[in-house]
């Protein structure tokens, strides 16, 4: 079944260089989907193809059942928020928000009602007569969001809308975007390279690398069950230890003198060299019955709610994130320590 927005077999080449390849995605009405990946992975190019600013080399884009692959951007009824805000500097906030309605020749009173409604929605009712250069970055981005929503778009696209803002404003605005999206139940595509943003906001995340989709799934699934090594390392911190397979069926592996175990089956033969992965928050600095490794503490970094401890283990580095409790006893650099992790919290990749 195809979704409200369907991208099938999308491919985009620029002078023979493939920017996006074999991109297939169905987005349901009201869903919030993020494209997550490093710079140059093709996420913005894909978004621009949906917006109509680029045409795919191959594939089809359908929106609300209609093929819009080659439709002009101004005929798609899609709202877009740009990284640079792209507010028109010669217009006031109210004029910016009303721009889309004005070019659609919407009647004057309906237009001003809609502008007031949106100014309330973004909590800036007193800024109607301000010019963009009189607003802070966060306020400008709110206005850009209101302007995109003013035309009652079928689909909302956000291209790294928070990346130019300070951390605190970014967090506030992130919550604001999600609140507005839920309130209006508008189908939304959000492009970001910030994994925390993608995980916090999205119903589903599309992780991309080198123009391809690496994995599509809910944030919890993406984080806890990464499908590829790239997803595992790009989304969240990850420890990767070189181990040797001992018993693939029972999930037994060995790292030097230490015998370790994972609950999942290993798809590699006995004796094969593989990587054992685990998240830093799964590691504890205490004795356990199994999966224990000895090492030397290299650094201890205080990060507020967590304390990051880096331990050298048989030539590899392991990062452990410990929750900052009042009773937490922190080791010091140079101390010998034992780290452990539960078998269900680690997995093997070739």
């Amino acid at each position: 079944m195809s979704g409200f927005l369907s991208l099938h077999g999308i491919r985009k080449e620029f002078n023979g260089v493939v920017a996006v390849d074999t991109f297939d995605l169905d987005v349901e009405p009201g869903e919030f989907v993020s494209f997550l990946g490093p710079s140059g992975c093709g996420k913005t190019t894909t978004l621009r193809m949906v917006a109509g600013f680029e045409q795919p080399t191959a594939g089809t884009i359908r929106l609300a059942g209609k093929d819009v692959t080659y439709a002009k951007a101004n005929e798609r009824n899609i709202g877009m928020v740009f990284q640079s805000y792209a507010l028109f500097p010669n217009m006031t906030v109210a004029e910016n928000i009303a721009f889309g309605l004005r070019v659609r020749k919407e009647e004057g009173s309906a237009r001003s009602d809609r502008v007031s409604e949106l100014l309330d929605l973004i909590h800036l009712p007193d800024k109607a007569k301000s010019y963009p250069n009189e607003l802070s970055g966060g306020q400008q981005q709110r206005v850009a969001l209101a302007r995109a929503l003013a035309i009652r778009p079928q689909l909302l696209l956000l291209d790294e809308p928070l990346s130019a803002l300070d951390a605190k404003i970014r967090d506030d605005l992130r919550a604001e975007i999600r609140r507005i999206q839920r309130q209006l139940n508008i189908t939304t595509i959000y492009v970001t390279h910030d994994q925390e943003e993608a995980l916090a906001l999205s119903d589903r995340v599309v992780v991309m690398s080198k123009g391809r989709m690496e994995q599509v799934g809910e944030p919890f699934e993406i984080y806890n069950n990464p499908a590829t090594g790239f997803v595992a390392s790009f989304v969240g911190q990850l420890n990767r230890l070189p181990v040797t397979v001992e018993d693939p069926a029972l999930g037994r592996i060995r790292m030097g003198r230490n015998e370790l175990r994972t609950t999942s089956m290993i798809e590699a033969p006995t004796g094969a060299g593989v990587s054992l992965m685990m998240r830093p928050e799964e590691i504890t600095l205490d004795d356990a019955e199994e999966n224990v490794l000895e090492g030397i503490v290299e650094t201890v970094t205080f990060l507020g709610s967590i304390v990051r401890v880096q331990v050298g283990v048989e030539g590899s580095k392991v990062i452990a994130d410990l929750f900052n409790e009042r009773l937490l006893e922190l080791p010091e650099a140079g101390d010998s320590t034992r780290i452990s992790f539960p078998p269900h919290a680690c997995w093997v990749m070739a």
Partner: protein, 271 residues
């Protein structure tokens, strides 16, 4: 700061004070307002009027042609070499003025100029049709040779300052390219366009050598009148010449104030 004040004192303030003082001197050396009263005579008004008209004509035509040229190489999809070629030519041509420019036009579009002869060969008699390089439109054509390139040089950075995101945002909101230009791009560029046209006005208004070398005083321009009054054999009245110059300073000052107001707005939007 000291070099700045020294420089502006020597080359701006002191000459202006001397000019103001001399404009108040009568033929016998006494202080008088007669020179300023003489600014309302038909000859002086005609000279100002001709200077203003020719400056406005070349500012508007040069501004429009220069803007479209700059637009063509900046966003018109022309290959990159066109831009660098036009920029280089504009850099040279905008500074090409005075006697050499007048001579170049006399040799090409004068009564026996190369182009005039070539036109005759293909059956077009420029001078028979009423055109002459020594006229109002002839001088305007010569001025346009440096006015258009100056407009190109100033407008190119302004056009580059138009963000692609503005165009895409407008398009995304349903605007046609025409609506984008009418409601966003042109209003944003307008201070730059008008500001540069004022600059072109000032550029033409103060030109003397080109007009003198080309027309030899046939056209009554304010700059030529100043020359005639200060160093002429027939109309020698230096005080009046200085008063006419003070009038020009006033008009130029007004232009500069307008230009800087528009430039400030343009920088705020395109900066």
């Amino acid at each position: 700061m000291l070099p700045f004040f020294l420089f502006s004192g020597m080359f701006l303030i002191a000459p202006a004070i001397i000019l103001a003082y001399r404009s108040l001197e009568g033929p016998d050396g006494t202080l008088t307002l007669d020179n300023y009263r003489a600014l309302t005579t038909d000859t002086v008004i005609a000279a100002y009027s001709m200077s203003v008209r020719i400056s406005l004509t070349t500012a508007v035509i040069g501004g429009l042609v220069g803007f479209f040229l700059a637009w063509a190489v900046s966003m018109g999809g022309l290959p990159r070499p066109f831009r660098s070629g036009l920029t280089t030519f504009s850099g040279v041509a905008s500074n090409f003025a005075g006697v050499p420019l007048a001579a170049a036009f006399i040799f090409t579009l004068g009564r026996i100029g190369v182009l005039t002869a070539l036109f005759q060969l293909i059956g077009v008699d420029l001078y028979g049709g009423g055109f002459t390089i020594y006229s109002y439109w002839g001088l305007s054509l010569v001025y346009l040779f440096f006015q258009i390139p100056l407009m190109v040089l100033v407008m190119l950075p302004a056009l580059d300052g138009l963000k692609q995101d503005w165009r895409e945002a407008a398009e995304n909101l349903g605007a046609t390219p025409g609506q984008y230009w009418r409601r966003v791009a042109l209003p944003v560029l307008l201070p730059s366009i008008l500001g540069t046209m004022i600059l072109l006005f000032g550029n033409a208004f103060g030109a003397h050598a080109t007009a003198y070398a080309l027309t030899g005083g046939l056209l009554p321009l304010a700059t030529l009148l100043i020359g005639q009054q200060i160093s002429g054999d027939v109309l020698n009245n230096p005080g009046l010449g200085y008063a006419v110059a003070m009038g020009m300073v006033f008009i130029m000052g007004l232009s500069i104030v307008l230009y800087s107001i528009l430039q400030r707005r343009s920088e705020r939007w395109l900066g």
